[in-house]
């Protein structure tokens, strides 16, 4: 038997001087297999064309549709309405710049993070595009790929009590990126150089191990393990054990 879902959705457009933040209430008949992504599209198509939210892939790959779903961050396209109670509250992800309604600018935040943590392979020599790439052990490539599965949806940042309190904290997404490049043999940065990037209270030592990141990551990345590993490595450098 289908349910009638009641959505309370945050509405605000910072670009519109007349807009005031608030919640709009919509109702919708639930359908089998309905995701929040489908529900939001139906609401926009049938009830309010001005409703703003992001999506691209509809399959949990692009990370665009991250939002706060009944208090917890998650992807709209990966959340079945049947897993939720009939009253659903949707808010934009905090920490990120609000574009409008449920749409936030995660790209701007991620770009700044990438520049700050220098999340690209640092080579010793000029790249020769005509030369064959160095071979890599499959296990190593797998390990790097596993860390590279992050889709930068921002859910880990929104779920992190530390990131919510302290805007400079790099969050699990930043620490995971460092773990990814540290695992890459092509990246020639030393441990000391990684330490300079994350060996402080805005980096790995700011993490309070609340593990909200681990528990909401839509890609089920091993953030808890990676952060603990980085902490052990960085403390060896910083406390003079290495």
């Amino acid at each position: 038997m289908s349910r009638t879902l009641t959505f309370s959705i945050f509405r605000h457009n910072p670009g519109d001087p007349g807009s005031r933040p608030g919640l709009d209430v919509f109702t919708l008949e639930e359908a089998p297999g309905m995701t929040l992504f489908i529900a939001l599209n139906l609401l926009r198509d049938e009830q309010d064309p001005s409703l703003a939210f992001d999506f691209v892939c509809r399959a949990g790959v692009c990370g665009s549709c991250g939002m706060i779903i009944n208090g917890r961050p998650g992807l709209a396209c990966r959340t079945l309405t049947e897993a939720l109670p009939p009253r659903i509250t949707l808010l934009p992800l905090p920490t990120f710049e609000l574009i409008a309604d449920l749409s936030v600018n995660t790209g701007k935040w991620m770009r700044a993070l990438s520049e700050r943590l220098q999340t690209w392979v640092h080579l010793d020599e000029e790249t020769d595009p005509d030369r064959l790439e160095e071979p890599m052990e499959p296990e190593r490539a797998e390990a790097i790929y596993e860390l590279d599965r992050c889709i930068e949806c921002g859910c880990c940042v929104a779920a992190c009590g530390t990131a919510r309190m302290r805007e400079d904290f790099v969050g699990a997404v930043g620490l995971n990126k460092i773990a990814r490049f540290r695992a890459d043999p092509r990246d020639k940065r030393s441990e000391a150089q990684y330490f300079e990037l994350i060996g402080d209270d805005e980096g790995v030592f700011g993490c309070m191990s609340l593990l909200g990141c681990q528990d909401v990551c839509p890609k089920s990345l091993s953030l808890q393990t990676q952060i603990a590993f980085l902490r052990r490595k960085m403390v060896q450098i910083g406390a003079g054990f290495a």
């Binding site: 917890r72 402080d200 191990s209 681990q214 590993f229 450098i237």
Partner: protein
């Protein structure tokens, strides 16, 4: 790639983080030992008297030296102050941060996030509760014994403080040890979520065990204190010492 030297100033957060963990680990393990010592009253008055005199060096020097206890209490107090100072780095510093964390915690319904607030509140409470207890122990180390402690608990009206302190210590220490384990990746396995679940169950099991032990011990001191109230101030002597000429 050219290596870069690490500036001495940038090592601070690493050292402080390690020190916070080390002092927390020491205090949590010490509190478990402390609970076993205190709960020896459940075995007998003689058992607790023996434990108390042991820490005064009675069985080494042939006479009690309460100053040894004062010195040890001073050391523990120093570790607590150090741990508190280090932990305060993580406290919300402004009303805005408090409000943000509080609303985040209430919305998330996430156990580990909520437990951090439990740690913060119990840690803050211990600033005051533990200080009172430690000051009394440091200034009157000779008044640790079956009757003296029971009189302090009941006739000295300290039982409400000890009741609050018991819950604060056991909750704070239990959560702290669990967090240390996940923070540094102890007892992790190929399935970290399962390891974490096991650690959390162990954490609650230990917390409940030490709370039960603490409550039973406190009840024993209250019972002795009520019975001994008319003679409050009188010190306990084991039968085998009273029999000596």
């Amino acid at each position: 790639m050219k290596d870069v030297p690490i500036a001495a100033t940038s090592c601070g957060p690493a050292r402080l983080d390690l020190l916070q963990s080390a002092t927390g680990l020491f205090l949590a393990l010490f509190m478990w030992l402390h609970m076993f010592f205190v709960s020896s009253i459940l075995l007998s008055k003689d058992a607790f008297w023996t434990v108390a005199r042991f820490f005064e060096g009675y069985f080494i020097f042939g006479r009690p030296i309460p100053l040894l206890v004062s010195a040890f209490v001073g050391f523990i107090f120093f570790i607590i102050v150090a741990h508190a100072a280090l932990a305060m780095r993580k406290f919300p510093a402004t009303w805005r941060q408090y409000r943000t964390f509080w609303s985040h915690m209430r919305a998330m319904h996430h156990a580990d996030t909520t437990l951090w607030m439990v740690q913060l509140v119990t840690g803050f409470a211990m600033f005051f509760l533990a200080s009172v207890h430690l000051y009394l122990m440091a200034t009157h180390p000779e008044l640790i014994g079956p009757y003296a402690s029971a009189d302090r608990v009941w006739s000295g009206r300290m039982w409400p403080l000890y009741l609050l302190l018991l819950f604060a210590v056991e909750l704070h220490g239990g959560v702290g040890l669990y967090r240390l384990a996940v923070k540094w990746g102890w007892w992790s396995s190929n399935d970290p979520l399962r390891s974490r679940l096991r650690m959390k169950r162990a954490k609650w099991g230990l917390t409940l065990f030490f709370l039960a032990l603490g409550l039973m011990s406190l009840a024993a001191y209250i019972k002795i204190g009520i019975a001994h109230a008319p003679s409050a101030g009188e010190l306990y002597l084991p039968d085998w010492l009273q029999a000596q000429p």
